[in-house]
């Protein structure tokens, strides 16, 4: 798990599949206002410790699928189980706790550009109810895990390179030692060299048992990493991985 990544320096190794389901979609449908169909009859299972690509061109429904997992959107039909929780039936007050089990990495990083890197991470720790005195140590620890040194702490995100910003975003996603990492086009804004760095980092996280789901339209990337894929086209799974 990521907890061990935060506490012990380890070397990457093969991801560990336990066979128990971490994410399950059962005949899920989602339509947006204006009768825009986003997903149709989606069913799949992702096991604990798996690394899975959700692929497809723009508009295929990749982002909607990820949003359904963390209950930003609700399905119109069907059931979604995430770490044994029925996401569609979760009470609103329980949603934040689901999201703490799922780290989310975005294409545009979604960092607070008017705050320093330290504050970007510390704010989330405060939201999770961490004790004030523990926060500085925890921030440094998680940044080291993603390969960032202390000099970035006082920098605003926009002073960092795209790769460094994405590392900060991944550090933020790892904060609560989540069972799942969802990454929506995490390398979409990065050059090939930085893309490799970020993907290697996600592999490293996965190697320690965290389930990783990466949504991407980059077929080269998918071919390079040889993981199971869930290919989407116009809201439907075209070939089960």
């Amino acid at each position: 798990m990521v907890s061990s990544l935060l506490e012990v320096k380890t070397h990457p190794h093969e991801g560990v599949h336990t066979g128990s389901p971490m994410i399950q979609f059962f005949q899920v449908y989602k339509t947006y206002p204006g009768n825009i169909t986003a997903l149709t009859n989606i069913s799949f299972k992702i096991e604990k410790g798996e690394f899975v690509f959700v692929t497809g061109p723009s508009g295929a429904g990749k982002t909607t699928l990820l949003k359904l997992i963390i209950r930003v959107e609700r399905p119109d039909q069907g059931e979604i189980l995430v770490n044994k929780r029925n996401v569609g039936r979760l009470r609103n007050s329980q949603v934040p706790f689901l999201r703490r089990e799922v780290g989310f990495v975005f294409q545009d990083f979604k960092l607070l550009n008017n705050k320093a890197v330290y504050d970007n991470i510390a704010l989330v720790l405060r939201a999770f109810g961490h004790k004030k005195r523990e926060i500085p140590k925890r921030v440094r620890q998680v940044l080291r895990v993603v390969g960032l040194e202390d000099w970035v702490l006082k920098q605003p995100p926009l002073k960092l390179s795209g790769g460094e910003q994405q590392r900060v975003a991944i550090a933020r996603a790892l904060l609560n030692t989540p069972a799942i990492i969802l990454a929506d086009e995490p390398t979409g804004n990065l050059d090939p060299g930085l893309t490799m760095e970020i993907m290697d980092l996600l592999e490293k996280v996965n190697a320690l048992g965290t389930t990783v789901v990466v949504a991407t339209h980059d077929t080269t990337l998918v071919a390079q990493y040889k993981k199971r894929t869930i290919p989407l086209y116009r809201g439907a799974v075209v070939d089960k991985g």
């Binding site: 934040p96 689901l98 979604k110 960092l111 607070l112 989330v124 939201a127």
Partner: protein
């Protein structure tokens, strides 16, 4: 609040002006009441007697008046005493006043009233009872204008609270709009915080606090402004006013009223924050 400085400055300024109007309307009757109380102490009823009331009847009348509920003292002023008082008051016109006869002046009773009977209503009812005495020609008392002044104060006090109610609506609306503006400016931050698992309470609390703080600063500012103006009035203006109206006993808003105003400020600000977060970003 620093991210949205000008809007907050305007909002706090508007709240300050609103509360200043409200607090001023509360302060005015407070000081007019002390003026009214000072005047009430001086109020006398004068009973002018008909001509020809004999000495025996006058003594009887004095006894009856002393027994009357609400009368502290009834001093008899004979026709001669009235004339002498008149001559003393107009001593400069000595030659003109020489031919006056005591019979020209009516005898009277000057009546001072017990403290708890010195309200406009009770003075009026006492005067009405005394006017029914057969030997009384006329009853004079300064109660009518006191009654009108008292009514004016009553209206002013209620007006202050009604205006206060209207101002609270304005304050709530101003605060709600400012908080909404901050909410709009911070929508990115809110979205991120909710996506990473912050609870609604964690996201909303700063906005409630911002509303409450704006209300507190606005109400506090109004009290400060009013105090400065009150101090200026006490030092520079009141001495001149005292020349016409006698010694003024001015007082500022009592601590409990200040606490109420600050409390209303905080509550209105919180309500503003609450209203602006009625429909939070659905993330």
């Amino acid at each position: 609040m620093k991210e949205n400085g000008p809007a907050h400055f305007l909002s706090i300024g508007t709240i300050t002006v609103s509360f200043f109007l409200f607090a001023s309307l509360l302060l005015l009757p407070l000081n007019f009441i002390s003026l009214l109380e000072a005047w009430e102490k001086k109020v006398q009823i004068i009973l002018y007697l008909k001509d020809g009331v004999g000495e025996k009847r006058t003594i009887q009348l004095a006894g009856e008046l002393h027994r009357e509920e609400g009368i502290r003292e009834a001093r008899y002023i004979s026709q001669r005493m009235a004339m002498e008082s008149f001559q003393r008051d107009l001593a400069g016109y000595g030659g003109v006043l020489k031919g006056l006869k005591a019979e020209t002046f009516p005898a009277s009773f000057e009546i001072t009233i017990k403290e708890r009977f010195r309200t406009p209503g009770r003075i009026r009812s006492l005067a009405a009872r005394l006017s029914k005495i057969k030997e009384v020609e006329e009853v004079q008392y300064g109660g009518l204008w006191l009654e009108r002044f008292s009514l004016f104060l009553y209206t002013l006090r209620w007006g202050a609270w009604i205006l206060g109610g209207i101002l609270v609506v304005i304050i709530v609306s101003v605060t709600a709009n400012t908080v909404r503006l901050t909410l709009y400016n911070k929508r990115g931050e809110i979205e991120i915080m909710k996506l990473v698992g912050a609870t609604d309470a964690f996201v909303k609390l700063p906005f409630y606090l911002e509303g409450g703080l704006q209300g507190l600063l606005g109400a506090g500012g109004s009290i400060l402004l009013l105090f400065v103006l009150f101090h200026f009035f006490s030092l520079k203006v009141a001495p001149y006013v005292s020349l016409y109206f006698g010694q003024l006993r001015l007082s500022f808003l009592p601590p409990n009223l200040i606490a109420w105003i600050l409390g209303i400020g905080v509550a209105s600000g919180l309500l503003g924050g609450l209203l602006s977060l009625r429909k939070p970003a659905r993330i």
